[in-house]
C-alpha cells in the first residue's frame, strides 16, 4: 500500500529561497526587485519599524500572560511574525482597508489600535475588537479564509467609487486550502480588483505542517490565476515593507497582487494549544536563529543607528504599552443580560422584541425570588 496518504512534511523553503533585504545575520542584501522600493527608507524609519516590532512582541507576551491569569479567554500569539505584520501593515496608506484573520495583532498596532482594542474580543466581551470604520480594518475573522472574499468585494466597491484605496487581506498558509481563498483570487483576477493578498506562511496550521496544504511554494499559485506574486522572507521587515509597497503599486495600477511572507509561528497556535505534541524543538531553534527582531537590531546597531539608549527607550515604550493594555483589559465591563439582544437587526424586529420582553419577564421573576 502506498504511504502517500501521509503528506510529505518537508517544506519547500529550501527549494526556492525567498526574496530578502536583510540576511539572518543582520547584513544588508540587495534584491533587484525589492531594493528600489525602499530606496527612500531612512535609518529612522527602520528604527521606527523596529520599535513597533518590539512593542508588538511585548504586547503579545502580555496577551499570553493575561490569558494565563484568567483575564482573557484565549490569545493567538504572533511571536515570530512581527516583521511580516509590522512591515506590511506600516506600508499601507491610512485609508487602505485591512481584512485580517485572528492573528493580526501587529497589523492592529500598525493601524493605531487603542489599548483596549487588543483584548476586547479575546476577553469575550464583544464580537469585534475595535470599530472597523475608525481602524479601517474589518473585524478579526475566525472563519478561515472568509475575509479574503470580503476584501475582494470591498475592492470592487473601491473600483466602483473610483478611489485609489486598496483592500489588503491577511491569512495563513492553512487558509490557502479553503475554497473561499481560491474563489477570492479568481474574483479578484476577473475584475482586476485593487486587492493585496498577504499570506503569512508561518509553517503551521495548528498541528499541520504547511506541506499538508501545499508541497510547493504558495506564492506559485497566484500567477496561475493571473495574479502577480512574490515570495518574500517574512522575517525581514525591510523586505516585507518593500514587497508590500510593490504589491500596493500593482493594486493601485489595476491588478491584484499576492505576497507569500515566509515566516514562523514561534509560539503555540493559541494559548489553548500545546505545540510540543507535534513540533520538533530543533525546528523552533532553527527559526530562533532567524528571529525578525534580532536581525534588524543587528543591522541598526552595525550601522550605528541603534544605541543602548534608544533600545532602552523602546523597551520602556513597550512596557508602557503592555501596562496600558493590561489596565484596559482589567477595566473592561460586561454588558447586562438584555444586551444579548442588541445589534442583531438594524431595523425593528417583532421576533426579537418578543423574545427580549419574555427574557425581561423571566429576569424579573429571578429578581423577585
Amino acid at each position: 500500500m502506498s504511504t502517500h496518504l501521509d503528506p510529505i512534511t518537508v517544506t519547500g523553503i529550501g527549494l526556492d529561497e525567498p526574496a530578502g533585504l536583510i540576511d539572518a545575520h543582520g547584513r544588508r542584501r540587495n534584491d533587484t526587485r525589492l531594493t528600489p522600493y525602499v530606496a527612500d527608507v531612512t535609518s529612522d524609519q527602520l528604527l521606527s519599524l523596529l520599535r513597533d516590532m518590539i512593542v508588538l512582541r511585548r504586547l503579545d507576551s502580555e496577551g499570553v500572560a493575561l490569558q494565563r491569569q484568567g483575564q482573557l479567554g484565549l490569545w493567538a500569539p504572533c511571536q515570530g511574525q512581527e516583521a511580516a505584520q509590522i512591515g506590511s501593515g506600516r506600508a499601507l496608506n491610512s485609508d487602505d482597508v485591512v481584512f485580517p484573520s485572528y492573528r493580526e495583532t501587529g497589523v492592529m498596532l500598525a493601524r493605531g489600535a487603542q489599548p483596549g482594542d487588543y483584548v476586547r474580543m479575546w476577553r469575550g466581551e464583544e464580537g469585534a475588537a475595535y470599530d472597523p470604520a475608525v481602524m479601517h480594518m474589518a473585524p478579526l475573522q475566525i472563519i478561515i479564509g472568509a475575509q479574503t472574499l470580503h476584501a475582494v468585494g470591498y475592492a470592487l466597491g473601491i473600483l466602483h467609487d473610483g478611489s485609489d484605496q486598496v483592500a489588503v487581506t491577511y491569512f495563513g498558509d492553512g487558509a490557502t486550502s479553503q475554497g473561499d481563498v481560491n474563489e477570492a483570487m479568481i474574483f479578484a483576477s476577473s475584475y482586476r480588483a485593487p486587492v493585496v493578498f498577504i499570506c503569512q506562511n508561518n509553517h503551521w496550521a495548528i498541528s499541520e505542517p504547511v506541506a499538508v496544504q501545499s508541497q510547493h511554494p504558495i506564492a506559485g499559485r497566484a500567477p496561475g490565476f493571473g495574479i502577480p506574486s512574490m515570495r518574500v522572507d517574512g522575517n525581514d521587515v525591510l523586505a516585507v515593507f518593500a514587497a508590500t509597497r510593490w504589491a500596493l503599486e500593482q493594486a493601485r495600477g489595476g491588478s491584484p497582487a499576492f505576497l507569500e511572507l515566509v515566516t514562523y509561528r514561534m509560539g503555540p497556535h493559541t494559548t489553548a494549544d500545546d505545540p510540543t505534541r507535534y513540533r520538533d524543538p530543533a525546528e523552533l531553534e532553527y527559526w530562533r536563529g532567524k528571529d525578525p527582531l534580532a536581525r534588524v537590531e543587528a543591522l541598526l546597531r552595525a550601522e550605528g543607528a541603534l544605541t543602548d539608549e534608544i533600545a532602552a527607550g523602546f523597551a520602556a515604550e513597550a512596557d508602557e504599552a503592555a501596562m496600558q493594555m493590561r489596565a484596559a483589559c482589567l477595566s473592561l465591563t460586561t454588558r447586562g443580560p438584555l444586551a444579548v439582544f442588541d445589534g442583531v437587526y438594524a431595523e425593528p424586529h417583532t421576533g426579537i422584541d418578543e423574545e427580549r420582553a419574555d427574557y425581561a419577564r423571566y429576569l424579573a421573576t429571578l429578581a423577585e425570588a
Partner: protein
C-alpha cells in the same frame, strides 16, 4: 395598476431600486446579457451598465462573500442565486458572515444584502432545481426571510428587502414566475404594508390554512373546493417567514380553532413545525383540534416524474382539513 407576471414585477422592482439608489448593485451568474436564466434581470445590463449588473464567476460562496465586502463599503448588493439548490455552497458566508456581522460589530456595520432565490418545485426540473431551503434561513438568527406569492408582493417586498438595512433572503416561487396579476407600481414604498406582515388572502370560519409562496394558490383552490362542500376556510399568506407575524396568524386561529399549515419543504423541523409550535403556545386554549402539517415528504426532492407524489396539492390539503375538522377521525389519528 398594470397586469404583469411575477417575473416582470420582480424585474420592475430591481429596476426601480437601481434607479432610486446608486448604491444598489446586482451580482449573479448570467444576470447580464442573458438577463438571468429566468430573465428577471432582462434589460438591466443595457440600462445600468456592467458596473451595476455584474456577471460573476461561477462560485456562490464567492458571490455572497463579495457582496459582504461591498456591503461593508456601503453598497446594497442584490444577489441572484441561480436556483434554490445552488445556495448551499454559499451557506457558510450567509450563516457565519451575512447573518452575524451586524451583531459582531455591535450594530455598527449593517449588512443590507438581498439574496434572491428562485425557489421550489412543480416545474419538472432536474435534480437540485426544486429545493425548498427556507427553514435553514428561518432558523438562522440575523436574517430576515421573505417568500412571495403574487406579482404585487413580489414587486413591493423586493423593493422593501433591498431598502432594508438588514440582510434578506428573498424566495421567489419559480412556478409562479409566469402567473399574472395586477401590480401597482406607483404607491410610494413608505405607504405600502411592511414586508413583515402576513396577509389573510381569504376569510373563513371553520379552519385556517397557513401557508406561503406557490402553495398559497393551492390553498386558495382548496378553500374553494371546500366551500363547495360547505366548509369555510381562511387562508393566510405568511409572506415573512422570519419574523413570522403571529399577530395575524393567532387572530385567525382564535376565530377558527383549527389549523393546517402547508409548505413544499420537508416536514421535519420545517417552517410548519415552527408555526405549529408557536400557535400551540400562543393559542392553546382556543385550539379545537391538533394543528396538522401538509408538507413535502422527508425525502430528497424526487425525480421530476415523481414530484406530483411529493408536493402537497389540493387533495392533500383537503385531507388534512378533513382530519382537523373531524374530531372523531382526529382521535383515531392520534392513536396510530
Amino acid at each position: 395598476m398594470a397586469q404583469m407576471t411575477m417575473g416582470k414585477a420582480l424585474g420592475a422592482a430591481l429596476k426601480q431600486s437601481l434607479a432610486d439608489d446608486p448604491k444598489v448593485l446586482l451580482l449573479g451568474e448570467d444576470i447580464g446579457k442573458l438577463g438571468g436564466v429566468f430573465r428577471i434581470t432582462d434589460g438591466l445590463l443595457d440600462e445600468f451598465g456592467a458596473e451595476r449588473v455584474i456577471d460573476t464567476p461561477l462560485a456562490e460562496s464567492g458571490i455572497v462573500g463579495t457582496a459582504v465586502g461591498l456591503a461593508m463599503r456601503g453598497y446594497r448588493p442584490v444577489v441572484e442565486i441561480q436556483f434554490d439548490g445552488f445556495v448551499y455552497p454559499a451557506f457558510d458566508q450567509i450563516v457565519s458572515q451575512v447573518a452575524k456581522l451586524h451583531y459582531r460589530t455591535q450594530g455598527t456595520v449593517p449588512m443590507p444584502i438581498t439574496i434572491r432565490i428562485p425557489w421550489g418545485g412543480g416545474i419538472g426540473a432536474a435534480e437540485h432545481h426544486s429545493e425548498s431551503p427556507e427553514a435553514y434561513f428561518v432558523h438562522t438568527a440575523g436574517l430576515r426571510v421573505i417568500a412571495v406569492s403574487n406579482p404585487q408582493d413580489a414587486y413591493t417586498c423586493l423593493r422593501q428587502a433591498i431598502a432594508s438595512d438588514d440582510p434578506v433572503i428573498f424566495f421567489e416561487p419559480k412556478r409562479l414566475y409566469h402567473a399574472k396579476g395586477e401590480v401597482d407600481l406607483e404607491t410610494p414604498l413608505a405607504d405600502a404594508a411592511p414586508m413583515g406582515l402576513a396577509r389573510v388572502v381569504r376569510e373563513g370560519t371553520d379552519a385556517t390554512i397557513v401557508t406561503y409562496g406557490a402553495m398559497v394558490r393551492t390553498a386558495l383552490e382548496a378553500a374553494e373546493a371546500a366551500e363547495a362542500e360547505g366548509r369555510s376556510l381562511e387562508v393566510i399568506d405568511l409572506r415573512s417567514l422570519s419574523p413570522i407575524d403571529y399577530g395575524t396568524v393567532c387572530a385567525s386561529v382564535r376565530r377558527t380553532g383549527r389549523v393546517v399549515v402547508a409548505h413544499e419543504a420537508a416536514r421535519e423541523a420545517g417552517v410548519a413545525a415552527e408555526v405549529i409550535a408557536s400557535i400551540t403556545e400562543k393559542c392553546f386554549t382556543w385550539l379545537e383540534a391538533a394543528p396538522l402539517r401538509v408538507t413535502g415528504h422527508d425525502i430528497p426532492y424526487p425525480p421530476a416524474k415523481l414530484e406530483k407524489f411529493h408536493l402537497p396539492d389540493l387533495d392533500r390539503i383537503l385531507d388534512a382539513v378533513d382530519r382537523v375538522c373531524d374530531d372523531e377521525q382526529l382521535l383515531e389519528g392520534v392513536d396510530r
